[in-house]
């Protein structure tokens, strides 16, 4: 789609007020729209569906990097699972494509083992190739998600690790700023 494809009616973009006047109107419109959307969805190619899923994943990862939230769930593996499931019908095929053992992938996906550098690097290159036909995908994203999560977890759980760690830390000859 080129930049100049579209014509413009004089002043047409100055403003649209499309607020619903009632909840009933919104529901009625929503119902009619949903029926039409479902018809259109039938013609949606699997290629476009995969593109949409990968774009959604990328946007979610970027949002997480921008505003990390620490929760019990592991975002890295959640994103990884979404990534694999968007493009493979069997996870073992992804394991083959990045030349790792299927059991290792299963352990990483199920949070039984942390990914090592080799895995992250292969994932980075795999994603670069996958997103090449879809949209820009910064090679840092997986690393950023992984370490952002680690950092958020450390900061959120200080009460668990700090007392034990502080016992091992002291500074000799600490000079006061008043001296």
């Amino acid at each position: 789609m080129g930049k100049n494809k579209f014509k413009e009616i004089e002043g047409a973009e100055f403003g649209v007020d499309s607020r619903y006047t009632s909840k009933k109107k919104q529901l009625d419109d929503g119902k009619a729209l949903m029926e039409a959307r479902l018809q259109r969805m039938k013609n949606l190619s699997s290629d476009k569906i995969i593109k949409a899923k990968l774009l959604q994943l990328k946007l979610k990862m970027e949002e997480f990097i921008k505003e990390p939230i620490y929760q019990e769930e592991n975002h890295f593996t959640k994103f990884l699972t979404s990534y694999i499931d968007a493009i493979y019908s069997k996870r073992i095929d992804f394991a083959k494509d990045i030349d790792i053992d299927a059991n290792l992938l299963s352990k990483i996906v199920n949070n039984h083992r942390k990914p090592k550098e080799d895995f992250l690097l292969r994932l980075m290159i795999h994603s670069e190739k996958t997103y090449n036909n879809i949209c820009h995908f910064h090679k840092k994203i997986w690393y950023q998600v992984y370490f952002q999560e680690k950092l958020s977890g450390l900061m959120a759980n200080q009460d668990q690790w700090r007392p034990n760690v502080e016992r091992h830390v002291k500074i000799k000859n600490l000079t006061s700023v008043d001296d």
């Binding site: 403003g15 419109d29 949002e63 949209c135």
Partner: protein
């Protein structure tokens, strides 16, 4: 995302952010065509050139998650960007694309952005943004959204 100067064709990077409470002092009806103060309880976004505080356009939306849809309540460009003598091109397109990206992030392949313009304006939105028409409602769904992103979002566009 960029806007293009109508005067010299120069491109300017833009950013779109949530409107803050103190922004409403400068968002007047005479410059932005609607009483935006009434939208303060809604999700409202502003578009401006990076490094400038001047608001070029505004959009307010309502999320309807049960329908995987975001409905545009109000959308406008500033007075200087209306009509043939507008200062910058692409303001409304960028705002619609921005909302479409939120819809994709939230609803994936089911994403839908809707609005209800009237008369000739509706035809303009159909022609310019490839919108589908259902009764009086216009919408972009995933196929159109991917096109919009390709056209307007230079950070994300399809290669």
């Amino acid at each position: 995302m960029i806007v293009i100067s109508s005067a010299n064709g120069k491109e300017y990077k833009v950013e779109i952010e949530a409107v803050q409470a103190n922004d409403y002092k400068s968002i007047t009806k005479s410059r932005y065509f609607f009483d935006w103060k009434k939208e303060q309880s809604q999700e409202v976004y502003k578009i401006k050139i990076v490094g400038s505080s001047d608001i070029l356009g505004l959009v307010s939306v309502e999320r309807i998650p049960e329908e995987w849809r975001i409905h545009i309540r109000l959308i406008t460009v500033s007075k200087e960007n209306k009509g043939r003598d507008k200062e910058y091109e692409n303001i409304a397109g960028n705002l619609i694309t921005f909302i479409s990206k939120i819809a994709v992030r939230e609803y994936g392949e089911l994403a839908c952005v809707s609005l209800k313009p009237k008369g000739a304006i509706a035809q303009h939105y159909i022609d310019k943004f490839g919108m589908n028409i259902t009764g009086m409602t216009l919408s972009v769904e995933i196929a159109e959204i991917l096109e919009l992103i390709n056209t307007y979002d230079h950070d994300y566009g399809e290669k």
